[in-house]
Structure formats: structure tokens, C-alpha cells
Subunit: 214 residues, 2 copies
Amino acid sequence: MRVVFQQELREVQNRLVEIAELVETAIQQATAAFGTSDVTLAEKVLDGGEEVERLAGELDELTVDILARQQPVASDLRLMVGALRMSSSLERMADLAQHIAQLSRYRYPESAIPEGLRKTFSKMGAIDVLMASKLVELLRDQDEKLIGEIRDLDDGLDKLHVKVFEKVLSEKVQVDGPTGVVDATLASRYHERFGDHAVAITKQVNFFLSGELD
Amino acid sequence: MRVVFQQELREVQNRLVEIAELVETAIQQATAAFGTSDVTLAEKVLDGGEEVERLAGELDELTVDILARQQPVASDLRLMVGALRMSSSLERMADLAQHIAQLSRYRYPESAIPEGLRKTFSKMGAIDVLMASKLVELLRDQDEKLIGEIRDLDDGLDKLHVKVFEKVLSEKVQVDGPTGVVDATLASRYHERFGDHAVAITKQVNFFLSGELD
């Protein structure tokens, strides 16, 4: 039974990696669509959302099934509960990528990004993409040093989030009426929440690796 | 063992009700603080956040502990997994109440709500409070008709969320520069997400009552 459980754990891990890879693609495409007002790319992200939802739902089913059949205790049980939490965070990250893509579609053919904020959002997008890529690596290889790297990236993201508001509120940046302010506010919030969920996943992985929630 | 499990289920339920009651108080106070720029009340909400986090953490511990000791299967297992999901949604609802409270504190002594949007936000706040109160009732009494009522309230909330943007973007509403637009955008998003989490909880309860996820 122990061997079977190990195989099933590996299967859960593989599926988490698979979903994280889809999230990585989604945020890559979403931030590219957002930066270049590419509505075709934005629609690709929106179409891809169902696939993540389906896979996350299937992973949850599998996890509950393993809990029922293998009746794990102690750290193995926490691993399963952690898997449920991680799949839920990955699903939210895909949602947020969709929200970012949707902003560019709403404003097409205009840009959703106000002038003067393009560089800041380009940085936020790049950080989100890098976090997603490191998350895939972390879930696949469980290399502990990636946890710190993802958290550092999130700190950078939080600073940029504050900067967006400072720029918008200083009125130094030319925002094109209330539409630009609404878009910048929502986009910044979506980018920032994406990072929060990545950090939430690192907490679960850290718990597996060190036995400690932090 | 069955009797023990029933007692433990009751304990989980009681704790969910307890946390939901704190969320109800938090959203009551947060929307009141937001509507009247009452910074003392806002700080009360911010101080109360830790209590929800602590209780939700303890409930998760209890749930994992029950899973380990009782090794439930089938619907009992799903109940436990559902409890984990509900505690996570309740924790997010408390976070969102805090975010709403914080907005009023940032702008004090000014109002965070732009003129012309006060009535809309007052309605959104009232709906959030009503949803939270019905959620407490639903978790306590498991009266199925409350599920539909909560979802109808959420539909109303979504319509108001769209209306906020329409009003802001029409520029008919006098928003006090970009600050008013940022605040209205964030506040509307927080109110709307609060409702989404309430609906997520009704899905879990519905699953317990009918055996079907919808």
C-alpha cells in the first residue's frame, strides 16, 4: 500500500505541475496581450480558462479519492490537504490571468494601459511570468531556494503595486480620464493577487519540505 | 465511533457558524465605517482580523485532526474537505471586510466614496451585510431556501458592480480626481468578491444537503 501511495503522490505532483504550466502560459499570454492590446491572444487566454478549471476539479477528485482509499495520517494527510489548497490557488491564478486578458479586450483597439504606466505594468507582468515559471520548477523539483526567490519577487510586485497608485494619484501620469484609472487600478490589483497566490503555494511546499508552516 | 464523529461534525459546524458571525460583524462595521468615514470603527474591523484568522486556522487543524483519527469516507470525507474550503472562504471574506474598512481609513477625514456613488455603495454594503447574515443562518440551520436567497443577492451585487463602472466611466458622476476613481474601483471589487465567496460557501452547503455540486 505504501508503494501505491507513493505512486499516487507522484501523480498528484505531476498534475500540479501540469496545471502550473498552463497557468504559466496563461499569464505569459495575458500580460503580452495586455501590453500590446493583442485581442486574439487575449481570447486565447479566455478560452484556456476552462481547461485549468477542469484539471483542477479532476485533481481535487483524485485527492479526495486518495484520502478515502489510502487514509493517510500525519504528514501524508497534510500533503493531501496541501494539494487541495494548491489546486485552488492555481485555479485563482488562472482566473486572474483571464481578468488581465479581459481588460485588454474591453479597451481594444485602445490600450488598457495608461501612458506613463506602461513600464511599471511591463515590470509587473514580467515578475508574474517569472513567478509562475519558478512555481512550475518548485512544484517539479522541490528546490527549496526557489521559495525565497518567489517571495522576493512578490516583494517587488507589492512595491510596484504601491507605485501604480502613487503615480495615478499624483496626477503626474497622463491617465486618459476615469477609464485609464479604473483599468490601472484593476490591473494592478490582479497582478498583485497573482503573486499572493504564488506565495500561498510556496507556503504549502515549504510545509512539505520542512514540516513547518511559516 | 460513529457517535464521536457526529459530535465532531457538530463541533466543526459550530465553529463555522462562530467564524461566520465574526465575518458578519466585520462587514457590518466595515460598510458602516466606509459609508460614514468612521475611522474608529474601521480600526475595530482591522483589529478583529486576527481573531478570524486564528479561528479559521484552528478549525483547519481540527478538520485535519478528524480526518486523521476518524478516516471518514464518501460523503463524510467530502464534508471535511468542504469545511476546509468554507473556512478558507470565510477568511477571505474577513480580509475583504478589512480592505473596505481600510479604504475609509486611508481617506479620512475625507470620504472614500465619491459623491453620486454613495447610494450605490450603500446598497452594495447592505447586500453584503444581508448575505453574511443569511450565511450564518444557513450554516446554523441548513435551510436550503437560503441558498437561493444568497445567490439572488449576489446577482444584485453583480449588477451594482457593473453600475459603479458605468457611472464612473460616464463621467456623469462627480468623482474627485483619480483618488475617487481608484477608491470606487477597489471598493466595488471588494464588495463583489465578498459576495462571490458567500456563493462559494452555498455551493459547499448545497453539496452536503443534496449530494450534488452545482
